[in-house]
Subunit: 150 residues, 4 copies
């Protein structure tokens, strides 16, 4: 992973949010993702749904919502990782209402348990007051499975 | 949704598979997705993992795998939809082993129950013999919730 | 279902909680379950773990925790059912810490969406401040599947 | 855990199945559970639904089905445990059709991955040809969390 460069926006609808300058990989393809935190234990991840995030039915693709959910589980876990990595072991989600083009969709959540091997997370995607996705999952610290062993 | 145009490839590693000519929306962004079926009740959906599908750790992003899983649930449901649509109600997944750049990842699965309102699906993503993701979920026929009501 | 008779306890560790006088079926076998609410939209369901609730490892059996979770999803849904019934479509749970003999385990939660067909719920089991189980699920109104159709 | 004593039935509807002679704890309360295997990697767990397993709606309680599912995940994992224990980390389930009084409900399944720390399982509950519950989950080897640490 190359050095990540972060910039904080000062204007526009994401004023006060930060994003990576040179986004790579899947989050670069799917994003831009924006990050904000009152404090490190209370991170938010957001993106704005465009035409490229829609499914054939004209609403935001389930996979697009799940990508934000999966990304946020890692972000929520960061304060517990102590420079180590983590991989998703399991994720489950309920789709409560559709996302639409133009929606700013925000992931918030919490670590419900940070153990020696596993980290448990739950969260929700919202657009304003509207709940879009409810999700929870388990992550494994990378040191705990050195050879990709589950 | 605009008219979908399908072409079947005759050479290359996806010879014998079909894909949409003008891909739009999230599947166009994330794909290309390739489709193949011995028969309509036995569809397979595949894609080849590239650099743009990776996470910061250098393996295929969980959201990318979940996007294929979610897309496949819809594809597996098609024979039961009778020209109606369906939306994902719920999806859960276990991550069994990482996907790598260059992997051809294939979704296979089955409808375990097609009811009047709900369709139940389960499946797996594999690369060759290797299991990558195990997933299951529930879809709701669109007629059953005419106003996006869950 | 026979008429249910409710009594409210005035002493003991469940003082202020209510329970059914003649419990039948699985909740009678597994319980007693105790119910309490500040208001109808904020129900709690509790039981005290005894020797008969343990697994071979000496902690509360996962199935016992899941039974409370499943029961609570129905209880949380009650204010939205208008005298109709509901059945569980899907449930997922994360086991955060073990329950022990003597623990009073309490289910709290919320309806995240009550639609025409489906009701979405999430909750947690706790013992004091300790999180034991985090769960979410989807229920279907009974009228929506008159012949047990999913 | 006390010594377990097993007997194999030679008559009745569970002829050829085995059960514990003195059942204790939650499986003793909820069961009897019956076990059968063509080979050790292909275990089946079954029980017969009685009046005491029903919910208020007159079908088998979701918690009763989930108890069988959770128990079976441990049984399916046994060939991989090498005398160590395992605890459930996560379980998700879809309810496909109701169980009825008198049904013999059978759990079958497979370990999809047995890693150093985690064991992944999926299975289904059936009554004859009818699918009742589809489930999957993750178990953690006990050595991997010596102090109940998740």
């Amino acid at each position: 992973m190359t050095e990540r460069q972060i910039e904080t926006l000062t204007e526009g609808e994401f004023a006060g949010w930060s994003r990576e300058v040179n986004r790579e990989g899947f989050n670069g393809l799917v994003g831009a993702y924006y990050y904000q935190a009152d404090d490190i234990a209370n991170m938010k991840v957001a993106f704005k749904a465009g035409k490229e995030h829609l499914n054939g039915g004209g609403t935001v693709h389930g996979g697009c919502l799940l990508t934000l959910a999966d990304t946020s589980m890692f972000i929520f876990s960061l304060p517990h990782l102590n420079d180590g990595g983590a991989v998703t072991v399991q994720l489950d989600a309920q789709f409560l209402s559709p996302g639409h083009e133009g929606d700013i969709i925000v992931a918030t959540g919490e670590v419900t348990r940070a153990g020696k091997t596993l980290i448990y997370v739950r969260g929700q995607l919202t657009c304003g007051e509207r709940l879009i996705l409810s999700y929870s999952g388990v992550m494994a610290r990378k040191a705990a499975r050195p050879s990709g062993d589950g």
